[in-house]
């Protein structure tokens, strides 16, 4: 139990991160439902509106949603830098992100210009709030985790770039002159996946992998070099395509990006093999799958720069997207949820109970069995979706059903965890 005088000031109010965590699984259910509804049409081409709708249900609705909640919780722990006015920031970012995501998805599905424009504005508010609040918090960062702090700053920058490119894509889709769809989309995907998602995961992994998975620390040189190298290459890549640089330079930069991703994934797998206590742990398993998929994305991406038939195969972007989003990013954030949510609930439960302890430890809040079932469902959903890329008619709808089940199971687990929190005790005056 927490001594009665213990202050909770350093921790954000529980509702600030939890509102994101409790919303996120609903989007996984929605993504599955869209796959069931539209079937093989979702997996035909990256340019289909229904494919773009599904992508953003996952990237914004699930991945960014969990990451926003996790940032509120992780910044004070790893950087000593709590987000100021966390409750207001969380409310505004949550409303903007969710209104924007729903409008964007509806705009794609209904081909409605007004909805797409509204989505761009709402996402600018929601995502912009998080970028500004996070960047301001990082300006006050302290502690030894300098590679993480630098990485978080770069990731917020990449998120801002992704947002601006996304807004430009909306205008391009609506027929604005002078905006070319193909290079804009390539840059939006590169900054969104390599800059924001991968950059954030690497920056946070330096701290949370040793902390939660009890591995040795990442090698100091990797910590110093990897993220600056990743972002420099990413920026050069965007500039190179803008300047119309030689294709050879583009190939070189793409291969360097793949090398950066592979070095992170291989190092993480190596650290996991050298855990000091080798107990079964769902987070470790989710991260293993994620690292293997990241290696797959990088190898396939690099191979496509050398093999023209692979590069021109219309299935390539869909295979890369499935590996990167469902195999890597969804697995990483799912694994993190099982460390962050039980701790948050436990911590606030202790503070509320003031001695009348009802929860023994974090194991009571999410049982290992519930977490293992989520991992199994995730693995089956991912395998079926990967299969559906090659046999869409037979497997796309079953894959959708399984993703619905995965999201529903996660929702059930997280809502159950939230309900295990005892109500506020009489120390709070009742009005």
């Amino acid at each position: 139990m927490i001594p009665a005088s213990l202050s909770l000031e350093q921790a954000p109010p529980l509702a600030a991160p939890m509102r994101f965590f409790l919303t996120a699984p609903l989007y996984l259910v929605a993504a599955g439902a869209l796959l069931v509804y539209a079937g093989p049409a979702v997996l035909a081409t990256r340019w289909a509106p229904v494919t773009m709708a599904l992508t953003h249900l996952v990237t914004l609705g699930f991945i960014a949603q969990v990451m926003f909640g996790a940032i509120l919780q992780v910044l004070p722990v790893v950087a000593g830098a709590p987000v100021a006015r966390a409750r207001a920031v969380a409310t505004l970012a949550h409303i903007g992100l969710n209104l924007g995501t729903l409008a964007l998805v509806a705009g794609f599905l209904l081909n409605a210009a007004r909805l797409l424009q509204f989505a761009a504005a709402a996402l600018a508010v929601g995502v912009g709030t998080m970028v500004i609040a996070g960047t301001l918090a990082l300006a006050r960062a302290r502690g030894a985790a300098s590679a993480t702090i630098t990485g978080l700053r770069l990731a917020f920058g990449a998120l801002a770039v992704t947002l601006v490119l996304g807004a430009l894509l909306v205008f391009a889709l609506l027929g604005a002159p002078h905006l070319e769809l193909v290079p804009l989309l390539a840059a939006h995907v590169a900054w969104g996946f390599l800059g924001w998602i991968l950059g954030l995961v690497v920056a946070v992994a330096y701290q949370v992998v040793p902390m939660f998975q009890v591995t040795p620390a990442y090698p100091a040189q990797l910590g110093r070099l990897l993220l600056p190298a990743l972002f420099t290459t990413l920026a050069l890549r965007s500039l190179a395509s803008g300047w119309g640089l030689s294709p050879a330079a583009g190939v070189l930069l793409d291969n360097l990006l793949a090398l950066a991703a592979i070095s992170f994934a291989v190092t993480t797998l190596w650290l996991q093999q050298h855990r000091r206590r080798r107990i079964a742990d769902v987070t470790v398993q989710f991260w293993k799958l994620a690292m293997l998929c990241l290696i797959g994305v990088a190898l396939l991406g690099a191979a496509s720069t050398w093999l023209a038939p692979l590069d021109s195969d219309p299935r390539l972007p869909l295979v890369l997207g499935t590996l990167a989003l469902f195999g890597f990013a969804v697995a990483v954030v799912s694994g993190m949820l099982y460390k962050i949510v039980p701790f948050l609930i436990w911590f606030h439960a202790q503070a509320r109970a003031r001695g009348h302890v009802t929860l023994r430890g974090t194991q009571d809040i999410v049982t290992p069995a519930a977490a293992r079932w989520h991992l199994r469902l995730h693995l089956m959903s991912f395998a079926l979706l990967a299969g559906a890329l090659f046999w869409p008619v037979g497997l796309s709808r079953p894959a959708g059903l399984l993703w619905m089940a995965t999201g529903a199971w996660l929702a059930r687990t997280l809502y159950g965890a939230a309900r295990s929190l005892p109500p506020m005790t009489a120390t709070t005056p009742q009005r």
């Binding site: 139990m1 927490i2 001594p3 005088s5 213990l6 202050s7 000031e9 350093q10 004070p76 722990v77 790893v78 000593g80 502690g143 030894a144 040793p210 902390m211 939660f212 998975q213 009890v214 000091r276 206590r277 742990d281 460390k339 701790f343 436990w346 911590f347 202790q350 430890g361 974090t362």
Partner: protein, 74 residues
């Protein structure tokens, strides 16, 4: 002679070290100290201790782990 209780949280996954320290602090008498052994520097713990009126001294050991002595501020 000040009594010292020891919590060995080395190689425990987060947040178990914090769980154990907070449990131990709740049972600590005013004249007792707590000695925490942990495999990394517990930055979040310091903020909690400062807010709760505890004092501490932390010392990096040769093997990369930390020893933190904690007592109530008189």
């Amino acid at each position: 002679m000040v009594e010292t209780r020891t919590v060995d949280a080395r190689d425990l996954p987060a947040p178990e070290p914090l769980e154990r320290v907070l449990d131990a602090l709740a049972g600590l008498r005013g004249d007792e100290r707590l000695r925490l052994l942990i495999h990394r520097e517990p930055l979040p713990l310091y903020d909690l201790l400062r807010g709760a009126g505890y004092r501490w001294e932390s010392c990096a050991l040769a093997d990369g782990s930390y020893e933190v002595l904690i007592w109530q501020d008189a």
